[in-house]
Amino acid sequence: MRSRRAIFRVLLLPGTLWLAVLFVIPLGLVVAVSLAQTNIVGLPVYGLHLGNYQNVFQSYYLPVILRTVEYAAAATVIIGVLAYPTAYTIARFGGRFKNALIVLVILPWFVDYLVRIYAWVVILGDNGTLNGILHGLGMHGSPPVQFLNRPWAVIGGLVYTYFPFMVLPVYAALEQMDPALIEAGRDLYASGRQVFWHITLPLTSSGIVAGIVLTFLPSLGDFATAQLLGGSNTYMIGNLIADQFSNVGDITFGSALTVVLMSVLLVVIVGYLRRTSRRARAVRP
């Protein structure tokens, strides 16, 4: 059998090398650059300087980081509140249209990322559709209502962009649940509400948690949404990072911001993995 496995070990190589050269080593480089200092011509001088991290957590940038977490969390909660009933309705009452309906709900994800954000610029802009409608309703002469450059515009954009990432795992969890459990609950005189809180919700919590991870993480690193739907008062960490890597920025500071972002990611991932492994142990002692 040993020789039969040999070829698969060889097949493992190209992909592994590619990931090492273009993902692992670059990540290490980000950490190294975040600990470097910039010289006069803007090139990093490697060392062990924590100045960039002190910069990240000083009063000027800290609000941006807190705001990023706040927006991503708000978007995740709204997505959850909208996506759960949608997935539930499709899974329980979709009948033979189930697959078609779930494809319908995730279809907008295949529309280009920028086009989806642009759609909201079209709707919410000063000369956009919504202001056109308000104008038509008789608000002649009055200045256009400012919808863009506000926190809710950015959060709404995040909700729209990452919605499918919640629907899919929740739907899958609902599909895997035995509907007979709901009937059993009803037969035992539980109200619909009790059945939901005590049976359905706990049984689908793995899907919800997966959905939270899948929507929260990309929202955290998003920057085009805040750039196009927001302004300088809705800046997120992604915008700060993007600025540092443009011509005027400081790549050592940008790298430190990236490391902070990756650290938040690692905390979320480790929490998620610990939860799922605990669950797996609870199911199969």
Binding site: A6, T86, P108, V111, A119, L220
Partner: protein, 275 residues
Amino acid sequence: MRRARRYDRPRFLVVITALVICYLFAPIAIVVLFSFNKENSLAVFGGFSTRWYVAFLHDGGIHASLAASLEIGVTTMVIAAVLGTTLALGLERSRLRAARVVEGTMMLNLVSPEIATAVAALLIFTQLGITLSLATVIAANATWAIAYVTIIVRSRLASLNSDVEEAALDLYASQWQTIRLVTLPLLWPAILASSLLVFVMSFDDFITTYFVSGLGVPPLPVRIYSMIRFGVTPEINAIGTLMTVATVSLALAALALFALRRTRSGSSVVTDLNG
């Protein structure tokens, strides 16, 4: 067989679902509608016209960007299909302890915020003195794209009955012949579906492409981004409509391929996606 009794179907659930579907599609519908506007306005629809599509047809810069994005999409797709398939075979069949480390790294790449991996790629290119070009975009895109192909192909591989491969080996086929003549034909739908998906995603990709595309012809998403920042015009709506039609039909084709092989093995598309 009335599994869902009437009292279990509160009307508000149906209403919420209908509203959510409207919310998901209304913005896209508005983009499409205003791409046919006779007026240069996104607020008032002045009548049907194809002038913005004509403007797109005569916009040489957009054509160059489109060609660049097609090159990115196709090349990324080929690299990711080859490396992703080999990686899937290696991860599933090598039984090496190290394979789990590789898999963990790949998953970390997949869940990392795209801006972080993009910045990392940019740093390695600039520190190595590589000039940013379409080649750097392709290299950076292929890195995340490999993960998608690997996951989809591997899930198919795991569902295959390895008896067929064992039989081929017992009948004196070489390992390479077995992979080429037995395994790959069975994996073909999964490879094709994941390749289509990766093509659409890398053609559309904005964040990675934005960071590593350099000063040459901007790929389509980067050009659209600067057009939006410069000011919105219905021409962007026309481009967006065309991109939507193209990417959504390719995505539906990929889903159909996926569903085809799923119905044969009897589980639903989405359940399988989730593991």
